[in-house]
């Protein structure tokens, strides 16, 4: 269970996140939706320890992570697949995945997770010796997700995994998210594709200019008039 209380994130003088509180229960899919600039990415970056300028509290299974650095947070079982994929274009697919397992030293566990990721993404398996930069956009997204999974996380945070993908691939990404969740991993999903995200989410939050303005189950928010008007195209 991840509990965020009164989180603030600032860039210089700009307040990007202005006191949000979010719960991510173990085993669930939780989604943050909201317009561009609402503070979704900043929230994930604060959780993963990248934003040093954060206030409030981040607690993970009772442990305080507020001051931890990114490496400690990965070791604690929280990993983020960043916005824009950010795969390493000059490293091979295999090396990208190995990098995802950097914080681990259990050789056998890494090998079996590698097999699992290749089962999940057969196209990555075919291209394992290829440089990351030569993959198509969809494949790069698969690689970004697979790389995050290689850290054997308890909580995976995905920042706009469907961004820029063709509709068929978007569906594939959401299927994969379900599959990951079925395997027992908790998912915190940030999406512009509000409809698809709300459909698979157990719980959802709407962010507007750095504040949570609505929350509820995925179904509740899909049915909510305000959400329909603002994020689901009426």
């Amino acid at each position: 269970m991840l509990e965020i209380r009164d989180l603030h994130v600032a860039y210089g003088g700009i307040q990007a996140v202005k006191g949000i509180s979010i719960d991510v229960p173990t085993g669930r899919i939780v989604t943050l939706i909201g317009a561009n600039g609402a503070g979704k990415t900043s929230t994930l970056r604060a959780i993963s320890g990248l934003c040093k300028n954060r206030k409030g509290s981040i607690s993970w299974n009772g442990k305080d992570l507020t001051g931890s650095d990114p490496v400690a947070i990965v070791k604690a079982g929280i990993v983020m697949s960043p916005e824009g994929r950010r795969i390493f274009p000059h490293l091979t697919v295999l090396e990208n995945l190995q990098l995802g397992a950097y914080s681990r030293s259990d050789k056998d566990g890494i090998a079996s997770d590698m097999t699992w990721v290749f089962d999940l993404f057969p196209r990555l398996s075919e291209r394992r010796a290829q440089k990351g930069g030569t993959l198509s956009g969809g494949e790069q997204q698969m690689l970004a997700v697979g790389r995050a999974l290689m850290s054997k996380p308890a909580l995976v945070m995905l920042d706009e995994p469907s961004l820029g993908l063709a509709p068929l691939l978007v569906r594939e990404v959401f299927d994969i998210i379900r599959e990951i969740n079925d395997k027992g991993m908790t998912v915190l999903l940030v999406e512009q594709n509000a409809h698809a995200a709300l459909k698979i989410a157990h719980k959802a939050y709407v962010l507007e200019t750095g504040r949570v303005t609505l929350s509820g189950t995925g179904e509740e928010l899909i049915a909510d008039e305000r959400v329909r008007a603002a994020y689901l195209g009426g």
Partner: protein, 297 residues
């Protein structure tokens, strides 16, 4: 020029070239990871040579032991320089670390002048490196075999570390995208420290072997070789290890061969290196193997 002289000139070129290459690797690795030109690197080169000298004269260590210890001490010093002078500036504008490195360079040079004194010191050289050996009728200076071979071993070791170990994978990741490396759990500061350690060890090895070839120690002895090695790194494409090796060897060959074939132009040999550098940079600003710098989003 007869064949024997030609062969000796080739070996001289390889010797000088690998000495430049070893130093250039340190410049290029640090630049690749931090986008920092570490001006203190030439002082690391100088200190490596001095540490061997003191190891032999003060502590009476056998030469090979003094050499290994000097490399280790210099590597630790390189790590210390990073921790003290660059790490606190990691989030500052790049120019700050650059200025800091110029400061460290002056500092180390002056510390060397104070503690080691500016008088040139004679370096101990094992006799077996001096006595020419006959190889199929060609007289060869053993030093000019020893230096390229030891350099080759060190470079192979480096390539193994960079391309076959986890730390090396971390280095290659950081050089492209520090933030995502953090996200993947790479202990970035530790990997950077190791990079400084490796670069400094190679510079120390180069400084030590330089002192075997030009057996005089001076606190300013790192300046010119350091500058040339930096040029070699830029010429090969800064950020690329292979480029640093090619750049170093090219510079070595140009210097030695200019003097060998055109003795009258000996005085201009440095100029040739710089002219070549300018030409390459005009045609290919990123150097031979350099990548176009990417803007990080």
């Amino acid at each position: 020029m007869n064949l024997a002289t030609f062969i000796q000139n080739i070996l001289n070129s390889l010797t000088l070239g690998s000495l430049y290459a070893l130093v250039a690797i340190g410049y290029t690795m640090v630049y690749g990871i931090l986008r920092l030109i570490n001006f203190a690197h030439s002082e690391i080169f100088m200190l490596g040579a001095y540490f061997v000298f003191w190891g032999i004269t003060l502590v009476h260590l056998p030469w090979p032991v003094a050499m290994v210890l000097a490399i280790l001490v210099t590597a630790s010093l390189g790590v210390l320089v990073d921790q003290v002078a660059y790490r606190p500036l990691r989030d500052a504008p790049r120019i700050s670390a650059l200025i800091s490195s110029i400061g460290v360079s002056f500092f180390l040079q002056n510390v060397a002048i104070v503690f080691f004194q500016a008088i040139p010191r004679e370096v101990y050289r094992p006799q077996w490196l001096e006595d020419p050996i006959l190889f199929h009728g060609v007289r060869v200076l053993p030093l000019t075999l020893f230096v390229p071979l030891l350099s080759l071993v060190l470079m192979l070791l480096l390539i193994y570390i960079v391309y076959r170990t986890k730390t090396g994978l971390g280095m290659r990741a950081i050089s492209k995208d520090i933030e995502t490396s953090y996200l993947m759990g790479v202990p970035v500061n530790r990997v950077i420290a190791i990079t400084f350690g490796i670069g400094s060890a190679l510079a120390a090895a180069s400084g030590i072997m330089w002192a075997l070839r030009y057996p005089q120690l001076q606190p300013i002895m790192g300046t010119i070789p350091g500058f040339k090695a930096f040029i070699a790194a830029v010429f090969g494409g800064i950020g690329s290890i292979q480029g640093a090796v090619i750049g170093g060897l090219t510079l070595g060959f140009i210097e030695i061969m200019t003097v060998a074939f055109f003795p009258d132009l000996a005085g201009y040999r440095d100029a040739f290196a710089f002219v070549l550098l300018i030409l390459v940079l005009m045609v290919k600003p990123t150097g031979l193997l350099g990548e176009r710098p990417e803007d990080k989003v």
